[in-house]
Amino acid sequence: MAKTRTVRSTLTSRSQFVTDLFPSEGVFGWILRSPVPKGTLQKIDPPSFPEGSGILLPRDVPGDLNLMVFQDKFPLMTGEVIEFLGQPLGLVYAPTEVEARSFAEATVLSIDPPNDASLRPIELGPNTLFAFDELMWDTPDGSEALEADDPNPGDPDEEALEREVTSTFFLDTQSLQVQEAVMAIARWKEKDLEVLVPAIWPHGISANVARLLKMKTGAVQVHATIPGMYHDRLLVDSLVISCFAALLAHKTKNTASVSFGHDEQILYGTQQAPISCTHSLTLVPSLGLRSMDIRIQIDQGAFPLFTREIMNQALGSANPGYRCPKGKVRVEIHRTSGVPRSVSHGFLSGQIQSITEIQVNRVAHILNEDPLALRLGLIDTSRKPGGEKVLPLLSTLGGISDYGRKFSSFEVLRRRGTDSPRQPSVRRFMPLRGIGAALGFQGNGFSKSTEQSIKSKISLRMNQDGSVQLFAGTTPGSSAVKSHLRDLVRDTLEVKDEMIFLFPSETAQMPDAGPTSVSRSISIIRGLTLQACESIQKLRFRNPLPIVVEKSFSPSRSFTLTSPGGYPWIKPSWASAAVEVQVDPVTYRASVTGIWVVVQAGSILNFAQARAHVEGTVIQAVNWVLRGLHRTPKIEIHFIDDHGVALVERKSSTHDLQPLGLGELAQAVVPPALASALSQATGQFFDQIPITPEVIHRYMEVPGP
């Protein structure tokens, strides 16, 4: 039996936060940052340092000053040209953090102003274009199929009916402002350097520290502590403070700690990229979509990171699965003077899908059709994988949310409101109501080409005494995943729970599993563990113990950018959502009155936790769209299988269908459903997110297109 996770077990679990390990001795560093976004650093004039304090500058770095994130790099600090506000210039250290901070504040910087060109406000455009990629298709068979459906082939009137719907969207950064400090502690263990830090990719940090200090990778051990509330920034921010702490420990031969304070997080923490997108669809009412032309511009800050992955995600998400014979998606990454941006496995994909979904709802509005019914006609059910699975998501959603009926009644209300020039006075103060729906997927893990370069590994060892040791990197603190892996080992190898040992995320023991998230652990690490168990099961009665099996993940086929068929991910999971809203016509404040989500993500390991997981992202998505923490009503979540059959709540067995990630699904479906619901309520088309009361007011006062 799987162990039950209670709040007591959560509170008393062995996992630690880095703040619980706060060292009482050693040195503390504070990052000296640029107070201007652009310029040339001339001189750094620190105050006179007492014994035990000082400053580290680029020249103190023995190895490579550049940190690598996948294929892209950025300097840990700059000695000359300043590229963004808050760029690290050095590290001031002292015996306490307070002293280090006050020395940093007392340091005088002489910075030459930038030349006129770089002072011009930055707009995404040819000057800032860093890289781009395109995906184009023109499917002859697609159009043949369409012509076959065409009741009047070649009818010239159809051409006349062709409509073009073009919108320009702006999505602002999605990250919540984090109020939680992160800290890295570097300490010596004889000749090895140990770094303690909240991290989701400890091996990435250890490789970078080793290059920075010219040490062997094996001599830098990273011990990932559990993250607090938010994980997305840990890929870049944890890397930066770990490198600073390691450099300080290297220079002072002492235990060194560097933190990224909560106030610094707001100004300089990595966030998700802002996106702007021009989206154009042409359609013929009776035939469906004829072509799409999507141009996505992503602001990746001063040092674009994760660029290949970002392009794959954006190209693969622009058309979540609509039948369209002709199309073009162009993704541009721009270099601006912003803080380098982060990438999270699923958020970017969700943001891009949101745009297309809002656009499809707009098309429904223009054609005067029910958006759910319209989608049923537009979905490409032949698309692999997953095309045919999508229809049950829409019909289930329609059923549980009573979508059709609500949509038509709100539509009637809205029309009455806008048709009559003089509204009856009572109605003017009645809340405006609307409902919206959307469909979307989550890729699970990174795109295939990134996964190929990461090659996640796990290893499983069966010892002579029958005990089993599993070395599989998962997100620190994700007890649900760990307990599932334990169940998997127990059930396949038939060993007792006490004989199974899982190891914490430490580079010294664990093979590299790549940046972890719950969805990656569930869809990739779980698969590798199962394969390893099966191999051991085959070998254990033939070979002498101990047996060690290693498995690594390498997706067979990488994503080719020539066709829209297929997704660049290993196995997508799907969801649909409906959101009902109410807007106060006096304060323009929007409140969400109902949320329904239908999830199709293989088998569900633990219903309560899956529900909590989806709920969490629903809330984050609502908070992103409406900005700020909002109260959300009860969220109705339904889990269905590929054929639309509701999954029953029971303990899942390890032999069930493959489970898939579901934590990022709501990011793809809730924002467009919410934006469209607001559009129905107010009669205005919203082409930007967040949609604050000020935005609603502005759009209602000055009606747009």
Partner: protein
């Protein structure tokens, strides 16, 4: 200056500087790590403790305010029968907070249950803003507290019988 107060049922003294915050005191001197530093400005709620039965942000309370007062953290509550009601209630409702905020969620639930025997959603609404958690919905917290209140009632009746 010596300050004395009741921490988790035990009489304690401290001679730290009076402006030291309660948060630093209980983490550093008494090693109670269920209370986490977050914003240190009273916004995020990750440092919440019970001070004379009220939820307070310990990052805002300097220790000269503590004289003769009662401070409780979840470590103390965990030893009581009341905690069991909350544990079962959370489990029944499928409410699983993370380790970062689990302590606060339990303390909040306990405060609500001390105030109302049968809490209504409207009663609890003000309490959810005490912690800046964007990963669980207020709805599921409410059901967890309601489930806890049922367990507590059952236990009370069992005693009466």
């Amino acid at each position: 200056m010596k300050t004395d107060f009741l921490l988790n049922g035990t009489h304690r003294f401290t001679d730290k500087h009076p402006s030291t915050t309660l948060l630093d005191l209980i983490r550093e001197e008494f090693n109670l790590h269920s209370v986490h530093p977050g914003c240190r400005k009273g916004h995020c709620g990750t440092c919440t403790v019970l001070l004379d039965d009220h939820l307070v942000a310990s990052c805002l309370v300097p220790i000269f305010h503590l004289k003769g007062r009662k401070v409780e953290t979840v470590e103390y509550l965990m030893e009581s029968a009341e905690f069991r009601d909350i544990e079962l209630g959370f489990l029944k409702a499928g409410f699983h907070p993370c380790k970062f905020c689990a302590g606060i969620k339990v303390l909040t639930a306990e405060t609500i249950l001390r105030e109302w025997e049968h809490p209504k959603e409207a009663d609890m609404a003000l309490f959810v803003t005490k912690n800046w958690c964007a990963c669980t919905s207020p709805g599921s917290f409410f059901s967890a507290v309601i489930a806890s209140s049922e367990f507590r009632e059952r236990r009370a009746h069992a005693h009466r019988r």
